[in-house]
């Protein structure tokens, strides 16, 4: 079983901000495309360590994690098996899972409409 831990503060930035690539250099989209999604495709389990940054705006977290379902077509059940969030602030973990649930709900709604 393969395992990967990514510390955002060490491997990405201590000041994550923004949603899309066009917003800046350390955005949610870039983190998802270049770090999170590749790790999830290559490993059975991925831990994301959110500690030691200054914090996270909702746009960053939503695009990084919610985008896995919306843009990369992953499924929340698959992520429940693979993804672990490490954070001394429970708020961030709660938000991430809420964004994943909302994204899954939206995806399901779109399928129903079609």
């Amino acid at each position: 079983m393969t395992h990967k831990t990514i510390s955002i503060a060490v491997e990405y930035t201590k000041t994550p901000a923004g949603r899309y690539y066009s917003d800046g250099s350390f955005t949610g989209e870039r983190f998802r495309e270049e770090f999170l999604y590749p790790a999830l495709t290559k490993n059975d389990e991925v831990e994301i360590d959110l500690d030691d940054t200054l914090g996270y705006g909702s746009s960053f977290l939503e695009e990084a994690f919610g985008g896995l379902i919306r843009e990369k077509n992953m499924d929340i059940n698959e992520l429940k098996d693979k993804l672990r969030i490490i954070s001394s602030r429970a708020l961030y973990e709660n938000r991430i899972w809420q964004y994943l649930k909302d994204a899954q709900q939206e995806k399901n709604n779109e399928k129903t409409i079609k």
């Binding site: 917003d23 746009s59 919610g66 909302d102």
Partner: protein, 348 residues
């Protein structure tokens, strides 16, 4: 019949009289045109371009008090009108005494934009008030208006702890780290503060401007009297206007039920803060303002304010009180402000 406050009326009259006296004195000093060709007669347009109009900055840089807001907006309007008519403008800061964080930030943003649009057309004097002088020098504003630094040592406590950051992407939020280190925000309040501030900047980049515009934002942080005042400003479309651009909001506003209330910027601000949707119709967007309010509620003290268009939304963390206000005059863009206590004293 509307009640007239005699004291207020007298104050206004005195103010107008002083201003007229000053402007008349200074008009006599208008520079005459000197052309390279002494035989040619300068055109009216050339004469106009060389003439300078003095504009006096108000006593208060504030957007939250009705009178002060009116004065600050008129100040900027006067400068803009003179510039667009071809005049140079010389700003006098002699009467300026009180610099409220959000009002000062907005003034700096507006003037910097005008300096960019009308290069070498705006000048100013060294402010009479020492604190005002030190602050405008400290943030580099006087230099941008062509005045070299005169104060050799910034000794005003208010100014030394005043930070200014600006950017056009989210990259410059990395400088927020310097502020948190300088100011030593207590941990119980710092958790979530960066979240809100970086989200405010992201909102500016995402929603305030059209795709082809430069997405400028500015931030002031001022440590004063045991509190940290932070304001983030953009000169974009503003929250009420951006909401009105959404088709379903436009439809909802124009429906006859409570249409007057729905058209008020103050009400639209409340909708934006409490709504899960954003300007872009996408339900995974638009959580930022709501999360900022959640943070303000969680810290239990201090405050949170949004000024945009004619609307204002205020939340007092200690009183757990939300207040909306509709002003008569419009502020272009959006200002978001937080007040955080720096001591664990919950008397704020």
């Amino acid at each position: 019949m509307k009640k007239v406050n005699p004291k207020q009326e007298q104050w206004k009259k005195n103010k107008q009289f002083k201003l007229k006296k000053k402007e008349s004195r200074l008009k006599k000093k208008s520079i005459k045109v000197v052309t390279p060709d002494s035989n040619s007669v300068p055109t009216e347009q050339a004469k106009k371009i060389q003439k300078i109009r003095m504009v006096v900055a108000p006593e208060y840089f504030s957007l939250t008090n009705d009178n002060h807001r009116e004065e600050l907006l008129n100040f900027i309007k006067k400068i803009k009108n003179n510039l667009s008519q071809g005049y140079k403008v010389d700003i006098s800061f002699d009467e300026t005494r009180t610099l409220v964080t959000s009002g000062t930030l907005w003034m700096v943003a507006k003037l910097e934009k005008l300096i960019y649009s009308y290069p070498n057309k705006i000048s100013c004097n060294y402010p009479e008030d020492n604190t005002v002088h030190q602050l405008l020098q400290h943030i580099g504003f006087l230099k941008r208006l062509g005045l070299p630094d005169k104060v050799t040592e910034i000794d005003s406590d208010i100014v030394r702890h005043w930070h200014y950051i600006s950017g056009t992407t989210t990259d410059d939020v990395s400088h927020f780290d310097e502020i948190f280190k300088c100011v030593a925000v207590p941990e119980e309040f710092s958790d979530g503060l960066y979240d809100s501030m970086s989200e405010a900047v992201t909102n500016t980049i995402q929603h305030a401007y059209d795709d082809d515009e430069i997405k400028e934002w500015r931030m002031f942080a001022q440590k004063k009297d045991g509190k940290l005042d932070i304001a983030i400003c953009d000169l974009g479309v503003g929250i009420p206007k951006s909401l009105k651009q959404k088709p379903e909001i436009k439809k909802w506003i124009t429906s006859p039920i409570q249409s007057a209330r729905k058209n008020r910027d103050s009400y639209l601000l409340e909708v934006a803060i409490q709504s899960t949707r954003s300007k872009t119709k996408l339900s995974h967007r638009g959580k930022g303002l709501r999360d900022m309010l959640t943070y303000a509620k969680s810290v239990k003290v201090g405050g949170f304010r949004i000024l945009s268009g004619k609307g204002a939304f205020d939340y007092s963390s200690s009183k757990k009180l939300k207040v909306s206000k509709q002003f008569k005059s419009q502020v272009n863009g959006t200002l978001i402000e937080w007040q955080i206590p720096l001591e664990n004293n919950h008397d704020t």
